[in-house]
Amino acid sequence: MFEGPTMKLLRSFVLMCALAPAAALALDGKAILEKVDRNLEPENYEMTRKLINEEPDGKRKEFILYSVKKGRDKVAALFLQPASDKGRSTLRQGDNMWLYIPNVGKPVRITSLQSVTGGVFNNADILRVDYTEEYEVTAATEQGDTYLLDLKAKTGNVAYDRLKLTVDKRTVLPTVIEAYAASGLLVKTLRFKDIKDFGGGVRRPATVETDSPLYKGYKSVMLYAAVKKREVPDEVFTLNFMSRLDELRK
């Protein structure tokens, strides 16, 4: 069968027409991720959380943290409970992280893979900055009522090399996040539950449950009790202020 130039042109036109709607409807993963970031937390906020580490036999250890965040990559957290950890504070500025232990030492640099609480949560989970700050969206697809986003760390300084986000289309909030190491190993799974209105336009999951194949049978839970917009001076996110973080609490 021979194909003339007109026929070729016609076929190309038909193909372009067929693909055009798909291209127009291609998901803007970055925009979705930015929306997820803002829906989870205001850019500048203060919040109070409880972290619960639960062992397979049901035994628990609980921590209460007060945290403040400013911009996309500055966050500080202060331990309010238990008494053994009270006054400890952690600070993050981009890839830099520090831990201050009162009356014992000066702020020391820590890495994102360490854990100041033990259990499944590590420092990167506790001092989380915007996803868009640390990750590029490599793929965005739809599946029923959800968006599926594949994220890749922008640098080697990020705790997890890849993330897979399942995002509810209606609320544009994550329901499940799977975190993978560079080797492809699934490190942990975060499940977001119990959407709650915190006031001031903040409506987000109040419970984040985490488990890890590396800690079989163990579970860590983060409960959000107060999340509200607040802008504090930049100086709050410095080593000098780590010992005075409690002065922010009202």
Partner: protein
């Protein structure tokens, strides 16, 4: 299973079914968080109580034995019980904060029973802004980036490398702290000036009396590296300058270092003839360290330390021989007094040597044992090749309770640092309850 517990289990299951609750719902309902638990108050009180039992394998033939246990009769073993506490309080009103921290302990062993009480820190702070504060009172400054040692810690009592995280007593001083955060590669600048007076009534153990010692620290966060430039003016001690840095290299590695120079410092050194003399020189000290966390969450902490004011192996040998003579059958009260004076001038420090290596391996929750943290610490005197090994196990699984057990094992030839300590081994168990 006993019938009673079987019955209770069945009863609970029936009750759950009757209430229409699934196990997961019951569990979800278990998580609760009441903000009233952590309401901000103008005052705060916290602290801990601790009981500790120690068993020492003594080394009565060691040169340092008579200095450690003075004129006590020689023993092969010693058991000691210690009860201690630390209490901290804080009161806040507007920009004014009053704070204090005190510790106390009572110990008893076959040689002695004693008790101590110390105000570790206490004073007033005015914080007119987040980037500015003024402190007056007894304070613990914490300069430097080193874990086991800090050559740039110009205004502090020295750390104990055996237990670097132990609370230390501060000095009475006036200080200010200013910090400014900024955009660009220089992300933060901080400045901490201080004044530390020394008189017969105040800070007497800092150095020569009749001086108001000035010092300052300039902090920079430049290109993701913490840098401090430090200075202490000549006064009760010689003038000192120093620099330190700390930086993360990736998610698993941190590196740090310190360098300090004491300008025109004087130190007493025993000559090979056993006679003490004073040396005046610029003394350089430095430390290089790294902390590496593996994917299996084992943390390696390594430090190399050179103490410019320390003594080399030959100098320490002369001192230990001097001690043996002074406290031996031919020793005299005058010789013993001179030995004590030399110990106080530097030879008696916990680590009096010149070059050290420190290595600590600690694992977080190994083998799925949550809250068990085993660690192994080695400290070696690189000049005389003596060393100390400390295996340790800490359990923190009970809320506000820390159970710690460790052994301290010393090894060294005769006339070496760790070979001449008063105790060759120590086993320690402690229980600390926080409130």
């Amino acid at each position: 299973m006993k019938l009673g517990s079987l019955g209770r289990g069945l009863g609970a299951a029936l009750l759950a079914v009757a209430l229409g609750a699934s196990p997961s719902m019951t569990r979800a309902a278990d998580y609760n968080f009441d903000l009233a638990e952590i309401e901000a108050k103008p005052y705060e009180v916290s602290g801990f109580v601790e009981v500790k039992a120690e068993h020492f394998r003594l080394h009565p033939g060691a040169s340092l034995f008579p200095l450690t246990f003075s004129s006590q009769a020689a023993r092969e073993t010693l058991d000691r019980g210690t009860a201690s506490f630390e209490l901290a309080g804080k009161f806040k009103r507007d920009v004014l904060i009053a704070y204090a921290r005190a510790s106390g302990s009572a110990a008893r062993d076959a040689y002695a029973a004693n008790s101590t009480g110390t105000l570790l820190e206490g004073g007033l702070r005015i914080s007119p802004a987040e980037g500015l504060s003024f402190d007056l009172g007894k304070q613990v400054q914490r300069w430097g980036k080193g874990y086991a040692w800090s050559p740039v810690a110009f205004f502090e009592r020295p750390k104990d490398a055996n237990d670097p995280q132990t609370s230390r007593e501060g000095f009475v001083m006036a200080s200010a702290d200013w910090v400014r955060s900024r955009p660009g590669p220089l992300a933060a600048v901080g400045f901490t000036p201080l004044l530390l007076p020394v008189s017969s009534d105040l800070n007497r153990d800092y150095g020569a009396t009749g001086h108001v010692n000035a010092g300052a620290k300039l902090y920079l966060l430049y290109e993701d590296t913490d840098i401090d430039l430090l200075w202490a003016a000549k006064g009760s001690r010689p003038q000192r300058v120093g620099i330190d840095f700390s930086r993360n290299l990736g998610t698993q590695l941190e590196v740090h270092g310190e360098w300090a120079r004491a300008i025109g410092a004087t130190r007493r050194v025993l000559g090979s003839d056993g006679l003490p003399s004073s040396e005046r020189a610029n003394l350089d000290s430095w430390l290089l360290g790294a902390r590496y966390i593996t994917e299996g969450e084992v943390t390696w902490l390594a430090e190399l330390y050179r103490n410019g004011a320390g003594f080399d192996a030959a100098q320490l040998q002369v001192f230990y021989r001097q001690l043996d003579r002074a406290f031996g059958p031919a020793g005299s009260a005058a010789m013993q007094a001179q030995a004590v004076s030399l110990a106080q001038s530097g030879y008696g420090r916990t680590n009096p040597g010149q070059r050290y290596a420190y290595l600590r391996l600690s694992a977080k929750d190994p083998f799925d044992w949550l809250y068990f943290n085993p660690a192994l610490t080695a400290i070696a005197n690189l000049d005389d090749r003596s060393w100390q090994l400390t295996p340790e196990l800490v359990y923190t699984g009970w809320q506000n309770v820390e159970l710690r057990t460790r052994a301290v094992l010393l090894h060294g030839a005769a006339l070496s640092e760790f070979g001449e300590k008063a105790a060759a081994r120590r086993l320690e168990v402690s229980l600390r309850v926080y409130f």
